[in-house]
Protein backbone atom coordinates (compact mmCIF):
# COMPACT_ATOMS: atom_id res chain seq x y z
CA UNK A 1 0.00 0.00 0.00
CA UNK A 2 1.23 3.50 -0.86
CA UNK A 3 0.23 7.01 0.05
CA UNK A 4 -0.88 8.80 -3.11
CA UNK A 5 1.74 11.15 -4.51
CA UNK A 6 -0.20 14.40 -4.41
CA UNK A 7 -1.46 14.09 -0.81
CA UNK A 8 -0.34 16.96 1.42
CA UNK A 9 0.31 16.25 5.10
CA UNK A 10 1.04 18.94 7.68
CA UNK A 11 2.97 18.46 10.90
CA UNK A 12 -0.22 18.80 12.93
CA UNK A 13 -1.79 15.77 11.29
CA UNK A 14 -3.88 17.71 8.80
CA UNK A 15 -4.21 15.86 5.47
CA UNK A 16 -5.38 17.41 2.22
CA UNK A 17 -6.25 15.67 -1.02
CA UNK A 18 -6.12 18.31 -3.79
CA UNK A 19 -7.74 15.96 -6.30
CA UNK A 20 -10.95 15.54 -4.37
CA UNK A 21 -10.77 18.67 -2.21
CA UNK A 22 -11.25 16.55 0.92
CA UNK A 23 -9.37 17.22 4.12
CA UNK A 24 -8.78 14.88 7.03
CA UNK A 25 -7.24 14.81 10.46
CA UNK A 26 -5.33 11.98 12.04
CA UNK A 27 -3.97 11.26 15.50
CA UNK A 28 -0.22 11.17 16.26
CA UNK A 29 0.15 7.45 15.72
CA UNK A 30 -1.81 7.65 12.46
CA UNK A 31 0.48 10.49 11.40
CA UNK A 32 3.50 8.33 12.16
CA UNK A 33 2.17 5.39 10.15
CA UNK A 34 1.34 7.60 7.18
CA UNK A 35 4.91 8.90 7.25
CA UNK A 36 6.29 5.37 7.36
CA UNK A 37 4.10 4.51 4.39
CA UNK A 38 5.41 7.56 2.55
CA UNK A 39 8.93 6.27 3.12
CA UNK A 40 7.80 3.08 1.40
CA UNK A 41 8.11 0.94 4.51
CA UNK A 42 6.21 -2.32 4.24
CA UNK A 43 3.68 -3.67 6.70
CA UNK A 44 6.17 -5.71 8.74
CA UNK A 45 8.61 -2.84 9.07
CA UNK A 46 5.82 -0.54 10.20
CA UNK A 47 4.61 -3.09 12.69
CA UNK A 48 8.09 -3.51 14.15
CA UNK A 49 8.58 0.24 14.49
CA UNK A 50 5.28 0.70 16.28
CA UNK A 51 5.73 -2.30 18.58
CA UNK A 52 9.12 -0.94 19.61
CA UNK A 53 7.77 2.48 20.42
CA UNK A 54 4.29 1.87 21.83
CA UNK A 55 2.82 -0.23 24.60
CA UNK A 56 0.72 -2.50 22.39
CA UNK A 57 0.66 -6.20 21.61
CA UNK A 58 1.12 -7.60 18.14
CA UNK A 59 -2.39 -8.91 17.50
CA UNK A 60 -4.06 -5.67 18.63
CA UNK A 61 -1.87 -3.64 16.33
CA UNK A 62 -2.37 -5.98 13.37
CA UNK A 63 -6.12 -5.65 13.75
CA UNK A 64 -5.93 -1.86 14.05
CA UNK A 65 -3.47 -1.55 11.17
CA UNK A 66 -5.75 -3.55 8.93
CA UNK A 67 -8.65 -1.25 9.85
CA UNK A 68 -6.55 1.88 9.39
CA UNK A 69 -5.36 0.71 5.94
CA UNK A 70 -8.96 0.22 4.86
CA UNK A 71 -9.81 3.72 6.06
CA UNK A 72 -6.87 5.23 4.16
CA UNK A 73 -7.92 3.50 0.98
CA UNK A 74 -11.60 4.36 1.36
CA UNK A 75 -10.63 7.98 1.91
CA UNK A 76 -8.48 7.83 -1.24
CA UNK A 77 -5.40 8.84 0.71
CA UNK A 78 -3.66 5.55 -0.10
CA UNK A 79 -3.83 3.02 -2.91
CA UNK A 80 -2.73 -0.56 -3.35
Amino acid sequence: MKIKKNIAISESGFIFNPTTGDSFSTNPIGFEIIHLLKEDKNKDEIKQTILNRYAVDESTFEKDFYDFSTLLQNSQIAED
Binding site: S23, G30, Y54, A55, V56, F68, N74, I77
Partner: protein, 453 residues
Protein backbone atom coordinates in the same frame (compact mmCIF):
# COMPACT_ATOMS: atom_id res chain seq x y z
CA UNK B 1 12.93 3.18 27.73
CA UNK B 2 9.33 3.30 28.67
CA UNK B 3 6.98 2.81 25.74
CA UNK B 4 4.45 5.39 24.64
CA UNK B 5 0.78 5.02 25.47
CA UNK B 6 -0.91 3.33 22.55
CA UNK B 7 -3.98 4.62 20.80
CA UNK B 8 -5.60 3.08 17.74
CA UNK B 9 -4.62 4.99 14.54
CA UNK B 10 -7.55 6.90 13.07
CA UNK B 11 -8.18 9.21 10.20
CA UNK B 12 -11.30 11.31 10.01
CA UNK B 13 -12.75 13.39 7.27
CA UNK B 14 -13.26 17.03 8.22
CA UNK B 15 -16.60 18.49 7.28
CA UNK B 16 -16.14 22.18 6.83
CA UNK B 17 -19.32 24.15 7.35
CA UNK B 18 -20.82 21.61 9.71
CA UNK B 19 -19.40 22.75 12.97
CA UNK B 20 -21.05 21.67 16.17
CA UNK B 21 -23.51 24.37 17.12
CA UNK B 22 -22.07 24.58 20.62
CA UNK B 23 -18.47 24.69 19.55
CA UNK B 24 -17.48 22.55 22.51
CA UNK B 25 -16.80 18.87 22.59
CA UNK B 26 -18.30 18.09 25.93
CA UNK B 27 -18.22 14.35 25.46
CA UNK B 28 -14.48 14.22 25.17
CA UNK B 29 -13.20 14.75 28.66
CA UNK B 30 -12.09 11.56 30.32
CA UNK B 31 -13.94 10.75 33.53
CA UNK B 32 -11.45 8.78 35.58
CA UNK B 33 -13.11 9.36 38.97
CA UNK B 34 -16.62 9.65 40.38
CA UNK B 35 -16.80 11.66 43.60
CA UNK B 36 -13.08 11.12 44.06
CA UNK B 37 -13.24 7.35 43.58
CA UNK B 38 -11.34 5.79 40.69
CA UNK B 39 -13.55 4.23 38.03
CA UNK B 40 -10.95 1.57 37.25
CA UNK B 41 -10.64 0.74 40.95
CA UNK B 42 -14.42 0.41 41.24
CA UNK B 43 -14.56 -1.94 38.26
CA UNK B 44 -11.66 -4.00 39.60
CA UNK B 45 -13.42 -4.47 42.90
CA UNK B 46 -17.09 -4.71 41.88
CA UNK B 47 -16.95 -5.92 38.28
CA UNK B 48 -18.14 -4.49 35.01
CA UNK B 49 -20.71 -3.26 34.22
CA UNK B 50 -21.42 -1.46 37.47
CA UNK B 51 -24.02 1.10 38.51
CA UNK B 52 -22.59 3.84 40.71
CA UNK B 53 -24.75 6.21 42.73
CA UNK B 54 -23.48 9.44 44.20
CA UNK B 55 -25.10 10.22 47.54
CA UNK B 56 -23.68 13.73 47.35
CA UNK B 57 -25.41 14.41 44.04
CA UNK B 58 -28.72 13.07 45.33
CA UNK B 59 -28.66 15.32 48.38
CA UNK B 60 -27.49 18.35 46.44
CA UNK B 61 -30.12 17.93 43.72
CA UNK B 62 -32.85 17.33 46.28
CA UNK B 63 -31.89 20.44 48.24
CA UNK B 64 -31.72 22.57 45.08
CA UNK B 65 -35.18 21.43 44.08
CA UNK B 66 -36.69 21.85 47.54
CA UNK B 67 -35.16 25.30 47.91
CA UNK B 68 -36.54 26.46 44.54
CA UNK B 69 -40.02 25.79 45.92
CA UNK B 70 -39.66 26.82 49.56
CA UNK B 71 -38.20 30.15 48.41
CA UNK B 72 -41.53 30.86 46.72
CA UNK B 73 -44.14 28.97 48.72
CA UNK B 74 -44.31 28.23 52.43
CA UNK B 75 -45.73 24.71 52.50
CA UNK B 76 -43.92 22.14 50.37
CA UNK B 77 -43.58 18.39 50.80
CA UNK B 78 -41.63 16.04 48.54
CA UNK B 79 -42.65 12.37 48.15
CA UNK B 80 -40.06 10.04 46.65
CA UNK B 81 -41.43 8.28 43.58
CA UNK B 82 -40.40 4.70 44.30
CA UNK B 83 -40.74 3.46 40.74
CA UNK B 84 -37.99 5.81 39.60
CA UNK B 85 -35.40 4.03 41.74
CA UNK B 86 -36.50 1.85 44.64
CA UNK B 87 -33.17 0.50 45.77
CA UNK B 88 -33.65 0.84 49.53
CA UNK B 89 -30.44 2.79 50.17
CA UNK B 90 -31.48 5.34 47.54
CA UNK B 91 -34.97 5.65 49.05
CA UNK B 92 -33.53 6.17 52.49
CA UNK B 93 -31.30 9.03 51.36
CA UNK B 94 -34.50 10.77 50.20
CA UNK B 95 -36.30 9.86 53.43
CA UNK B 96 -33.39 11.26 55.45
CA UNK B 97 -33.80 14.47 53.48
CA UNK B 98 -37.45 14.57 54.52
CA UNK B 99 -39.24 12.92 51.59
CA UNK B 100 -42.40 10.92 52.07
CA UNK B 101 -42.94 7.88 49.82
CA UNK B 102 -45.04 7.74 46.65
CA UNK B 103 -45.84 4.20 45.55
CA UNK B 104 -47.97 2.57 42.84
CA UNK B 105 -48.19 -1.10 43.85
CA UNK B 106 -48.43 -3.37 46.85
CA UNK B 107 -44.80 -4.32 46.31
CA UNK B 108 -43.67 -0.71 46.46
CA UNK B 109 -46.01 0.01 49.36
CA UNK B 110 -44.47 -2.78 51.44
CA UNK B 111 -40.98 -1.70 50.45
CA UNK B 112 -41.72 1.77 51.82
CA UNK B 113 -43.19 0.34 55.03
CA UNK B 114 -40.17 -1.91 55.50
CA UNK B 115 -37.86 1.04 54.94
CA UNK B 116 -39.58 2.54 57.97
CA UNK B 117 -41.76 5.19 56.33
CA UNK B 118 -44.75 5.84 58.62
CA UNK B 119 -47.97 4.72 56.92
CA UNK B 120 -49.49 8.20 57.05
CA UNK B 121 -46.56 9.51 54.98
CA UNK B 122 -47.10 7.07 52.12
CA UNK B 123 -49.03 8.16 49.05
CA UNK B 124 -50.61 5.23 47.23
CA UNK B 125 -51.13 5.97 43.52
CA UNK B 126 -51.90 3.91 40.48
CA UNK B 127 -54.75 1.93 38.92
CA UNK B 128 -53.69 -1.44 40.36
CA UNK B 129 -54.42 -1.68 44.08
CA UNK B 130 -55.71 -5.06 45.25
CA UNK B 131 -58.27 -5.43 48.04
CA UNK B 132 -55.44 -6.40 50.35
CA UNK B 133 -53.41 -3.37 49.29
CA UNK B 134 -56.37 -1.09 50.00
CA UNK B 135 -57.00 -2.66 53.41
CA UNK B 136 -53.33 -2.37 54.33
CA UNK B 137 -53.30 1.28 53.25
CA UNK B 138 -56.48 2.03 55.24
CA UNK B 139 -55.00 0.30 58.27
CA UNK B 140 -51.89 2.46 58.07
CA UNK B 141 -53.86 5.65 57.46
CA UNK B 142 -52.03 6.23 54.17
CA UNK B 143 -53.11 8.68 51.49
CA UNK B 144 -55.03 6.68 48.90
CA UNK B 145 -55.20 8.35 45.51
CA UNK B 146 -58.22 7.00 43.67
CA UNK B 147 -57.58 6.39 39.99
CA UNK B 148 -60.93 5.30 38.50
CA UNK B 149 -64.61 4.72 39.30
CA UNK B 150 -64.24 0.96 39.79
CA UNK B 151 -61.66 1.64 42.43
CA UNK B 152 -63.86 4.26 44.07
CA UNK B 153 -66.78 1.82 44.35
CA UNK B 154 -64.57 -0.99 45.59
CA UNK B 155 -63.07 1.29 48.19
CA UNK B 156 -66.56 2.25 49.40
CA UNK B 157 -67.36 -1.45 49.91
CA UNK B 158 -64.13 -2.17 51.72
CA UNK B 159 -64.56 0.89 53.90
CA UNK B 160 -67.90 -0.50 55.09
CA UNK B 161 -66.32 -3.90 55.73
CA UNK B 162 -63.46 -2.60 57.84
CA UNK B 163 -65.45 0.24 59.35
CA UNK B 164 -62.72 2.86 59.02
CA UNK B 165 -62.54 6.24 57.32
CA UNK B 166 -59.69 6.31 54.81
CA UNK B 167 -57.98 9.52 53.77
CA UNK B 168 -58.26 9.84 50.01
CA UNK B 169 -57.55 12.09 47.06
CA UNK B 170 -58.56 11.69 43.46
CA UNK B 171 -56.20 11.73 40.54
CA UNK B 172 -57.32 14.27 37.97
CA UNK B 173 -56.25 14.39 34.35
CA UNK B 174 -56.64 17.48 32.23
CA UNK B 175 -55.65 19.43 29.17
CA UNK B 176 -52.53 21.42 30.02
CA UNK B 177 -51.79 22.31 26.43
CA UNK B 178 -49.28 19.52 26.11
CA UNK B 179 -49.62 16.80 23.53
CA UNK B 180 -50.16 13.88 23.94
CA UNK B 181 -52.54 14.43 26.82
CA UNK B 182 -52.23 11.90 29.62
CA UNK B 183 -55.86 10.93 30.08
CA UNK B 184 -55.44 7.24 30.77
CA UNK B 185 -55.17 7.69 34.52
CA UNK B 186 -57.51 9.46 36.86
CA UNK B 187 -60.73 11.42 36.32
CA UNK B 188 -60.97 14.03 33.62
CA UNK B 189 -61.30 17.68 34.57
CA UNK B 190 -62.79 19.18 31.41
CA UNK B 191 -65.59 16.61 30.99
CA UNK B 192 -66.71 16.92 34.61
CA UNK B 193 -65.68 13.37 35.59
CA UNK B 194 -63.48 14.72 38.33
CA UNK B 195 -66.28 16.83 39.79
CA UNK B 196 -68.65 13.81 39.67
CA UNK B 197 -66.16 11.68 41.57
CA UNK B 198 -65.68 14.42 44.15
CA UNK B 199 -69.45 14.67 44.64
CA UNK B 200 -69.76 10.91 45.08
CA UNK B 201 -67.01 10.79 47.68
CA UNK B 202 -68.31 13.70 49.71
CA UNK B 203 -71.98 12.75 49.57
CA UNK B 204 -71.23 9.12 50.38
CA UNK B 205 -69.46 10.35 53.51
CA UNK B 206 -67.36 7.26 54.23
CA UNK B 207 -64.00 8.77 53.40
CA UNK B 208 -62.15 12.01 53.96
CA UNK B 209 -61.32 13.76 50.72
CA UNK B 210 -58.12 15.49 51.80
CA UNK B 211 -56.27 16.15 48.53
CA UNK B 212 -56.29 16.53 44.77
CA UNK B 213 -53.66 14.88 42.63
CA UNK B 214 -52.41 14.97 39.07
CA UNK B 215 -49.40 13.74 37.16
CA UNK B 216 -49.51 15.46 33.80
CA UNK B 217 -46.71 13.59 32.05
CA UNK B 218 -43.03 12.93 32.21
CA UNK B 219 -40.05 14.93 30.94
CA UNK B 220 -42.27 18.00 30.56
CA UNK B 221 -40.39 20.62 28.58
CA UNK B 222 -42.75 23.48 29.39
CA UNK B 223 -43.05 24.73 32.93
CA UNK B 224 -46.27 26.49 32.02
CA UNK B 225 -48.16 23.18 31.80
CA UNK B 226 -47.73 22.98 35.59
CA UNK B 227 -49.16 26.45 36.05
CA UNK B 228 -52.28 25.32 34.19
CA UNK B 229 -52.48 22.10 36.23
CA UNK B 230 -52.05 23.95 39.52
CA UNK B 231 -54.77 26.46 38.59
CA UNK B 232 -57.22 23.75 37.60
CA UNK B 233 -56.70 21.78 40.82
CA UNK B 234 -56.96 24.96 42.87
CA UNK B 235 -60.19 25.74 41.04
CA UNK B 236 -61.62 22.34 41.96
CA UNK B 237 -60.60 22.91 45.56
CA UNK B 238 -62.30 26.31 45.51
CA UNK B 239 -65.57 24.81 44.27
CA UNK B 240 -65.42 22.00 46.81
CA UNK B 241 -65.10 24.61 49.51
CA UNK B 242 -67.86 26.75 48.06
CA UNK B 243 -70.29 23.88 47.68
CA UNK B 244 -69.55 21.65 50.69
CA UNK B 245 -67.63 23.99 52.99
CA UNK B 246 -64.85 21.42 52.98
CA UNK B 247 -61.18 22.23 52.98
CA UNK B 248 -58.80 20.41 50.66
CA UNK B 249 -55.56 20.24 52.60
CA UNK B 250 -53.12 19.43 49.82
CA UNK B 251 -52.54 19.71 46.11
CA UNK B 252 -50.21 17.08 44.67
CA UNK B 253 -48.78 17.93 41.28
CA UNK B 254 -47.07 14.58 40.71
CA UNK B 255 -43.75 14.26 38.92
CA UNK B 256 -42.57 14.92 35.40
CA UNK B 257 -39.83 17.54 35.64
CA UNK B 258 -37.28 17.01 32.88
CA UNK B 259 -33.77 15.96 33.82
CA UNK B 260 -30.71 17.35 32.06
CA UNK B 261 -30.50 14.39 29.70
CA UNK B 262 -30.86 14.94 25.96
CA UNK B 263 -33.93 13.38 24.38
CA UNK B 264 -33.23 11.24 21.33
CA UNK B 265 -33.49 13.16 18.10
CA UNK B 266 -33.56 16.49 19.90
CA UNK B 267 -31.55 19.28 18.32
CA UNK B 268 -30.77 20.99 21.59
CA UNK B 269 -28.89 19.33 24.39
CA UNK B 270 -30.91 18.60 27.50
CA UNK B 271 -28.90 20.91 29.71
CA UNK B 272 -29.93 23.78 27.42
CA UNK B 273 -33.56 22.94 26.70
CA UNK B 274 -34.82 21.52 30.01
CA UNK B 275 -36.46 24.01 32.37
CA UNK B 276 -34.70 24.44 35.71
CA UNK B 277 -36.21 23.75 39.14
CA UNK B 278 -36.61 27.52 39.45
CA UNK B 279 -38.62 27.66 36.22
CA UNK B 280 -41.00 24.94 37.40
CA UNK B 281 -41.24 26.43 40.88
CA UNK B 282 -42.00 29.89 39.53
CA UNK B 283 -44.82 28.55 37.34
CA UNK B 284 -46.37 26.37 40.04
CA UNK B 285 -46.00 28.66 43.04
CA UNK B 286 -47.30 31.78 41.34
CA UNK B 287 -50.29 29.83 40.01
CA UNK B 288 -51.08 28.58 43.52
CA UNK B 289 -50.52 31.93 45.21
CA UNK B 290 -52.81 33.60 42.70
CA UNK B 291 -55.57 31.01 42.93
CA UNK B 292 -58.91 31.95 44.45
CA UNK B 293 -58.77 28.94 46.75
CA UNK B 294 -55.41 29.81 48.23
CA UNK B 295 -56.71 33.16 49.46
CA UNK B 296 -58.52 31.28 52.23
CA UNK B 297 -55.73 28.96 53.29
CA UNK B 298 -52.67 27.86 51.40
CA UNK B 299 -52.82 24.15 50.64
CA UNK B 300 -49.77 21.96 51.17
CA UNK B 301 -47.97 21.53 47.85
CA UNK B 302 -46.82 17.94 47.31
CA UNK B 303 -44.36 17.00 44.57
CA UNK B 304 -43.58 13.47 43.42
CA UNK B 305 -40.55 14.43 41.38
CA UNK B 306 -38.69 11.35 40.16
CA UNK B 307 -36.20 11.48 37.32
CA UNK B 308 -35.08 15.07 37.80
CA UNK B 309 -33.94 14.19 41.33
CA UNK B 310 -32.02 11.01 40.62
CA UNK B 311 -30.89 10.94 36.98
CA UNK B 312 -27.66 12.86 37.52
CA UNK B 313 -26.71 10.86 40.61
CA UNK B 314 -26.42 7.58 38.70
CA UNK B 315 -23.60 6.47 36.39
CA UNK B 316 -23.03 3.23 34.59
CA UNK B 317 -19.41 2.13 34.32
CA UNK B 318 -18.65 -0.40 31.62
CA UNK B 319 -15.98 -1.91 29.44
CA UNK B 320 -15.30 -2.06 25.70
CA UNK B 321 -15.65 -5.64 24.45
CA UNK B 322 -14.69 -5.12 20.82
CA UNK B 323 -14.49 -2.72 17.89
CA UNK B 324 -15.85 -3.36 14.42
CA UNK B 325 -16.09 -1.52 11.15
CA UNK B 326 -19.62 -1.51 9.72
CA UNK B 327 -20.19 -1.92 6.00
CA UNK B 328 -20.96 1.80 5.67
CA UNK B 329 -17.54 2.63 7.09
CA UNK B 330 -18.71 3.69 10.54
CA UNK B 331 -16.96 2.42 13.61
CA UNK B 332 -18.98 0.23 15.96
CA UNK B 333 -17.94 -0.16 19.57
CA UNK B 334 -19.44 -3.03 21.52
CA UNK B 335 -19.85 -2.54 25.26
CA UNK B 336 -20.45 -5.06 28.00
CA UNK B 337 -23.80 -3.45 28.87
CA UNK B 338 -26.94 -3.54 26.74
CA UNK B 339 -30.33 -1.88 26.60
CA UNK B 340 -31.64 -4.51 29.02
CA UNK B 341 -29.90 -2.70 31.86
CA UNK B 342 -29.86 0.72 30.21
CA UNK B 343 -33.48 1.00 29.21
CA UNK B 344 -33.24 4.79 28.97
CA UNK B 345 -31.11 4.48 25.80
CA UNK B 346 -34.48 4.28 24.05
CA UNK B 347 -35.30 7.81 25.25
CA UNK B 348 -32.01 9.58 25.69
CA UNK B 349 -28.83 10.25 23.85
CA UNK B 350 -26.81 9.36 26.89
CA UNK B 351 -23.58 11.17 27.37
CA UNK B 352 -20.71 8.73 27.46
CA UNK B 353 -17.14 9.46 28.57
CA UNK B 354 -14.02 7.34 28.27
CA UNK B 355 -12.57 6.57 31.71
CA UNK B 356 -8.93 6.93 30.65
CA UNK B 357 -6.76 9.59 29.02
CA UNK B 358 -6.75 9.89 25.25
CA UNK B 359 -5.59 12.30 22.61
CA UNK B 360 -8.01 14.70 21.01
CA UNK B 361 -8.75 12.70 17.89
CA UNK B 362 -12.20 11.38 17.43
CA UNK B 363 -14.25 9.11 15.22
CA UNK B 364 -17.94 8.94 14.43
CA UNK B 365 -19.55 5.68 15.29
CA UNK B 366 -22.23 3.58 16.90
CA UNK B 367 -22.20 2.12 20.39
CA UNK B 368 -23.82 -1.28 20.83
CA UNK B 369 -24.50 -3.59 23.72
CA UNK B 370 -23.68 -7.31 23.82
CA UNK B 371 -27.21 -8.69 23.37
CA UNK B 372 -26.92 -10.04 19.83
CA UNK B 373 -30.09 -8.17 18.89
CA UNK B 374 -30.66 -5.31 16.50
CA UNK B 375 -32.41 -3.18 19.08
CA UNK B 376 -29.40 -3.21 21.35
CA UNK B 377 -28.13 0.25 20.47
CA UNK B 378 -26.79 2.49 23.24
CA UNK B 379 -25.95 5.43 20.93
CA UNK B 380 -26.84 5.52 17.25
CA UNK B 381 -24.47 8.37 16.43
CA UNK B 382 -21.66 9.40 18.68
CA UNK B 383 -18.27 10.96 18.28
CA UNK B 384 -15.72 9.37 20.54
CA UNK B 385 -11.97 9.05 20.77
CA UNK B 386 -10.68 5.67 19.67
CA UNK B 387 -11.02 3.09 22.41
CA UNK B 388 -9.70 -0.42 22.53
CA UNK B 389 -10.87 -3.68 24.04
CA UNK B 390 -10.70 -3.45 27.81
CA UNK B 391 -11.00 0.34 27.99
CA UNK B 392 -13.62 1.68 30.37
CA UNK B 393 -16.43 4.15 29.87
CA UNK B 394 -18.82 6.04 32.10
CA UNK B 395 -22.41 6.60 30.96
CA UNK B 396 -23.77 9.67 32.73
CA UNK B 397 -27.15 10.45 34.26
CA UNK B 398 -28.66 7.00 34.34
CA UNK B 399 -30.10 7.11 37.88
CA UNK B 400 -33.79 7.17 36.94
CA UNK B 401 -35.80 4.12 35.88
CA UNK B 402 -32.86 1.92 34.83
CA UNK B 403 -32.47 0.23 38.20
CA UNK B 404 -36.19 -0.55 38.28
CA UNK B 405 -36.98 -1.34 34.65
CA UNK B 406 -33.87 -3.41 33.97
CA UNK B 407 -34.32 -6.91 32.65
CA UNK B 408 -32.39 -10.00 33.52
CA UNK B 409 -31.41 -11.29 30.09
CA UNK B 410 -28.50 -13.53 29.08
CA UNK B 411 -26.40 -12.42 32.05
CA UNK B 412 -26.97 -11.21 35.60
CA UNK B 413 -28.00 -7.74 36.61
CA UNK B 414 -24.85 -6.07 37.92
CA UNK B 415 -23.75 -4.72 41.30
CA UNK B 416 -24.90 -1.30 42.41
CA UNK B 417 -22.68 0.76 44.71
CA UNK B 418 -23.23 4.07 46.45
CA UNK B 419 -20.42 6.54 47.10
CA UNK B 420 -21.17 8.30 50.37
CA UNK B 421 -20.51 11.91 51.39
CA UNK B 422 -16.96 10.97 52.49
CA UNK B 423 -16.21 9.14 49.24
CA UNK B 424 -16.56 5.76 50.89
CA UNK B 425 -18.01 3.04 48.68
CA UNK B 426 -20.92 0.84 49.80
CA UNK B 427 -22.36 -2.12 47.93
CA UNK B 428 -26.13 -1.47 47.96
CA UNK B 429 -27.38 -4.17 45.62
CA UNK B 430 -25.61 -7.43 44.87
CA UNK B 431 -25.13 -8.74 41.40
CA UNK B 432 -27.62 -11.51 40.85
CA UNK B 433 -26.33 -15.07 40.74
CA UNK B 434 -27.26 -18.27 38.94
CA UNK B 435 -28.48 -19.66 42.29
CA UNK B 436 -30.71 -16.62 42.80
CA UNK B 437 -32.33 -17.17 39.42
CA UNK B 438 -32.59 -20.94 39.76
CA UNK B 439 -34.08 -20.60 43.22
CA UNK B 440 -37.42 -19.46 41.86
CA UNK B 441 -37.60 -22.06 39.10
CA UNK B 442 -39.19 -25.48 39.58
CA UNK B 443 -38.33 -28.65 37.67
CA UNK B 444 -41.16 -31.15 37.18
CA UNK B 445 -39.89 -34.57 38.34
CA UNK B 446 -40.28 -36.21 34.95
CA UNK B 447 -37.98 -33.60 33.34
CA UNK B 448 -35.16 -34.03 35.79
CA UNK B 449 -33.21 -36.54 33.78
CA UNK B 450 -32.14 -36.98 30.21
CA UNK B 451 -29.55 -38.93 28.35
CA UNK B 452 -27.57 -37.43 25.52
CA UNK B 453 -24.93 -40.12 25.26
Amino acid sequence: MEKLRYERPVVKKLNTGMMNKFGTRTEYNPVTHIDGVSVKGLIEKYGSPLFVISERTIRQTYQDCKRAFTNRYPRVQMAWSYKTNYINAVCNVFHQEGSWAEVVSGFEYNKALQNGVPGNKIIFNGPDKTDNDLKLAIDHNSLIHIDHLDELYRLMEITKEVNKRPRVAIRVNMDTGVYPMWDRFGFNYETGQAWDAINKIILNDQMDLVGLHCHIGTFMLTANAYAIAASKLADLAYHIHAKFNKKISYIDLGGGFASKNTLRGSYLQGNVSSPSFDDYAEAICSALLNAEYSKQELPLLILETGRALIDDAGSLCGTVLANKRLSDGRRATIMDFGVNILFTSFWYEHKLSPAQEFSHYTEDGVVYGPLCMNIDVIRENITLPPMKKGDNVVVHSVGAYNMTQWMQFIAMRPNVVMIDMDSKVHLIRNKETLEYINNIEEMPAYLKEFNLS
